[in-house]
Structures are given as C-alpha cells and as structure tokens.
C-alpha cells in the first residue's frame, strides 16, 4: 500500500519561498497567478492492507516527524 502525504504551510504563515516563486512566474509572463504556496510531497510504501490502520499510523508519523504542526498542515491519501 502507498501513502501520499502533502505537507503545506498553515494559512497565515508567511511563505517567502512561495512568494519568490510567484515573483519568478510573473517575470516569465504568467500574469494569471494570484498566489503561490510551496509545500512538500512525501510518498511512503507501507506493509499491510488495512487502510484504517495505515492511515492511523501515517497520521502518527506526520505528528511526530513528517510535519511540524506549529507551522504546517498535512493531508494523507492512501492508494
């Protein structure tokens, strides 16, 4: 089973890297971009087939290591 984790900065937390990317896109002529937020994508290959158990475990991984919940949110997708 695969788990895909997206880690993004919380709303209200400034994202200077996202801002710089936005600025660079504007420089390339992409005028239709209103905002850019940069995050992380983490793919995990897991043992087992129990989705509920896997999700609980990945949630714990996010809380303990993969995300810093002071500044980041995370979402989990199992496949």
């Amino acid at each position: 089973m695969k788990a895909r984790v997206h880690v993004t900065l919380k709303n209200g937390v400034l994202d200077p890297q996202g801002k710089a990317v936005h600025h660079a896109l504007q420089g390339l002529g992409f005028d239709g971009v209103n905002d850019v937020r940069q995050g992380k994508f983490i793919e995990l290959e897991l043992d087992g087939t129990d989705a509920a158990k896997a999700e609980a475990e990945v949630k714990e991984m996010c809380e303990k290591l993969l995300a810093n919940t002071v500044i980041e949110d995370y979402s989990i997708e199992l496949a």
Binding site: V13, P16, L65, N68, V70, I71
Partner: protein
Amino acid sequence: MKSAVILFPGINRENDAIAALKQATGIEPTLVWHGDTELPKTDIIMVPGGFSYGDYLRCGAMAAKSPIMRAVSERAKQGVTTIGVCNGFQILTEAGLLPGALMRNASLKFICKNTHLKVENADTRFTNLYGAGDVVEYPVAHHDGNYFADSDTLDRLEGEGRVVLRYCDVDGKIDPATNLNGSQRNIAGIINEAGNVLGMMPHPENAIDPMHGGTDGRNLFKSMVEAAS
C-alpha cells in the same frame, strides 16, 4: 562545573562551543555523540550550530528525534541549564523544548554578518551579567532563523519575560528595518517556561575573543556558569 556539547552529523560549530565553554568553566567540555543514549552528569548542555543531517526535511527535525535527544530532554526537564544556538535552537524547538519554529529568512538569503541584539531580560541564568536593555553584538550565520509562533504564544512569551534577545540597531532601536531575518517581533532568543532552556539564532560562542572582533558573548557563558555554581 561540567558541561557537555552534543554532536550530530553535519554540525560544524562544536569546537567553537567547546572553546567558549572551556573559557567560561576552565574545564574541557565532554563531547557527546548523537547516537549515544546516555548523557554524562553535567551542569550545562549546549546544542551547537551547523547543519545537522544536512537540514533534511526541516532544519533540526532529524536531530530532534535522535537517541541522545531523549536524554537531553529529560535533563532539561529536570532543570539542567541547556542552550541551543542556531541549528541548536532549531533542534530544541523541533524537540518541543521551546515553542515556535524557525523558518526560511524572509529575504531568502543566507545571512552571515555581525548583528546587534537587545538584552530584553537580564534576569535569566543566561543573561544575569548583562544589564536590561544592553545592546550586544554577536555574529549570525543562518538561512532559517525567521522565528515564528502564533500570536497567543508570542503574547505569552512577551508577558512572561521569555523573549531574551531581539534584533536591533546599534542604538537598541527595534523596528521592521532592524529585523534581520523577518522574525516575529524581532525575536532572536527565547527561554522556556522554567527559565533553564535558551534558544537563540546568533552565535555568542563566536564573540568571546578579541580576535573574533568582539567579546560581547563572554558574559552569556559566564552568566550560565555563575548561575549553575
């Protein structure tokens, strides 16, 4: 007076930390490897600067979960004087010993220069040899020193006198223009609720010898030693 310096792979300021602690205590500190699970008996713990684990995932995130940090957390919770500088500050926040997080500098640039800092609280075991409102000069060298915490946490830190150092100019002026890296409320260093754990981005250990260009950092180490005696 015993002291210990924690060493993680990728740390590069451990010898500066050792020199500063040796100067202040008169005794060579013990260097403790990240994979160890036990910390020798010590009065001061220092988590030095550098780039532990290559800053993978987030600065300090991997180091905060290494075996030795369980022992460091235990000692810190027992009240042992603990200081984290630069990457050490990032590690202590990631380990949950200090609130908030250190983000990428607002300018996105690595900043390596001397900076002025205002001693906001001179009644801590790290600053008791300074005067309240003193302006000191330490070097900084970081890419991720932009302190962030939610506004409730910031209000609490300020209300409890736990903001120890703020970025300022030579006259002690604190405003957005003197905010080196975009930190919330110009915060450069904070202590925990019990007052025995300090995290700061600037490097006092690199301001202890006239050859460094200044010795403003000496009193920080001397304060710790005096308080722990």
